[in-house]
Amino acid sequence: MDPTQLLYSPTHEWVYLKDLTATVGISRFAVDQLTDLIMIELPAVGTRLVKGKSFGEIESVKAVSDLYAPIGGEVTEVNTAVVENVQLLTDDPYGVGWLIKLKVDDAAEISELMDFAAYEKKLAEEAH
């Protein structure tokens, strides 16, 4: 996926919305900040996610971090390849390292997410 075409949450998850199906992952920035990923835990298909609530966790040598749903909905698909080999996420967070797909409850929630330019701006501001 082209990162410039994705939407981003303040907690560094990305969303690609097509019709009412959202693909969700975490940004390159997040992966680079975490480094040394050990494992990732993702919800089962059928789990209902609430926007802003934890849907899984990612463990690195340094710390364990929650993953937060950038949008609400029902999990329709889980990337089992990335669960088995978290290196995929380090290698390609916008491609083979995607995490889950959701059937979105309310597409309007997406308006609260940032586009690429806004996300880049936020990262630049936080760097200071």
Binding site: T35, D36, I38, M39, E59, V61, K62, V64
Partner: protein, 370 residues
């Protein structure tokens, strides 16, 4: 109360301008990593790594009464030190709890003490309080100096070309004095906190960056990497070396922490001796190594369970880059310390099966002992 100012080592600017991720540690601004923790860890295990450890506290002592003073405030037997020898030791309080773990160096001009960064004020206070008229010179050398660790199989090959004394003959836990780069006075010791062979260098603060850059140049052909506190922690963890604030604290006695060998109850009186005698008879708990079945990391504070009964607490846990397993050290009831004992860890509500394993988790093979 105002936040105390965070301290910077003489290499701070270098760290910042070379991608070091700066974190607060023990009152200092230090690099936790430059690349990844695992890459830096493997560099030390397989090649060579260099660490800025200038945040460690350093004190010099010389003159009359200094030996008796050091004997009073430390648990190991300072008088047993030969010239140019270094001793692992502890500073205890009256209850037998640990103020810090330290290294005591004996060299031709007197004694040197190296302590943990975060404990420098407490060590200083304990020294002052129990000086009892020792008239020798005592000086906090920390701000005037830098300390650099070069660790790994390539450490000797990296440092030797820069130093005017032969390094190979220095035995483990011994030191020599000489000059780096022709004119920089240095104390070089065969010590470290990684489980690998290596050297620690103390130089004047104004020589730090020059020496650091020379080490990186010299180590290039050996595959050197600058390493941060992240790798320092995973390396010392695999080698089961205790870290103050984790395996050691004022609430943990040295026998529970498996550093009772550094307490010499027969050396004469010293602070904490009577309490330590009691702890030796009944340490209450003991430090063990644990290997988890799953990959989840059991970090400090994780409860250790025997069936459903809480029997201890994790002091450090990480994913071992060398062994590719989630490992932990914990303080548990002594009856559960036998290798193979199955235990459960409550990792944020997940019940993770684990078993007691031998410490250290990692011991370097004799081939790489140079």
């Amino acid at each position: 109360m105002a936040e105390p100012t965070l301290l910077k080592t003489p290499l701070f600017d270098w760290h910042q301008s070379h991608g070091g991720r700066i974190v607060e540690f023990g009152g200092w601004l230090m690099p936790v990593q430059y690349s990844t923790i695992v890459d830096e860890h493997q560099a030390v295990r397989q090649r060579v790594g260099v660490f800025d450890i200038s945040h460690m506290g350093r004190f010099t002592f010389d003159g009359p009464g200094v030996l008796a003073w050091l004997e009073r405030v430390t648990t190991n037997h300072v008088a047993k030190l030969n010239l140019d020898q270094i001793q692992y030791s502890l500073m205890a309080n009256d209850q037998g709890g640990l103020i810090d773990d330290i290294l005591v160096y004996r060299h031709q001009y007197g004694y040197y003490l190296v302590c943990n960064a975060s404990n420098r004020p407490a060590v200083l206070a304990q020294l002052e309080q129990h000086r009892q008229g020792a008239v020798g010179n005592f000086h906090d050398h920390t701000p005037d100096t830098a300390m650099i660790a070069v660790q790994g199989p390539g450490a000797l090959g990296t440092v030797q070309p820069l130093f005017d004394q032969p390094l190979e003959p220095i035995k483990y836990y011994h030191l020599t004095m000489g000059r780096l780069l022709g004119n920089a006075n240095a104390v070089v010791s065969r010590t470290g906190y990684t489980g690998e062979d290596g050297y620690e260098l103390i130089v004047a603060a104004n020589q730090a960056e020059r020496v650091w850059n020379a080490i990186l140049d010299s180590g290039q052909s050996h595959g050197i990497l600058p390493c941060g506190l992240g790798a320092r922690d995973t390396l010392r963890f695999e080698a089961a070396m205790p870290l103050y604030g984790h395996e050691l604290s004022e609430a943990i006695n040295p026998y529970a922490a498996l550093v009772g060998w550094a307490v010499k109850l027969d050396k004469g009186d010293f602070i904490g001796r009577e309490s330590l005698r009691g702890w030796k008879r009944d340490p209450g708990r003991t430090r063990v190594g644990l290997r988890l079945e799953g990959k989840r990391i059991a970090r400090q504070g994780t409860t250790v369970l025997d069936a459903d009964r809480a029997v201890g607490t994790v002091t450090s846990g990480t994913f071992s880059p060398t062994l590719q397993r989630s490992l932990a050290m914990a303080l548990v009831e002594p009856s559960l310390a036998r290798v193979g004992t199955p235990l459960t860890l409550d990792v944020r509500g997940h019940r993770e099966p684990a078993a007691v394993v031998e410490l250290p988790f990692y011991r370097r093979s004799p081939q790489t002992q140079k």
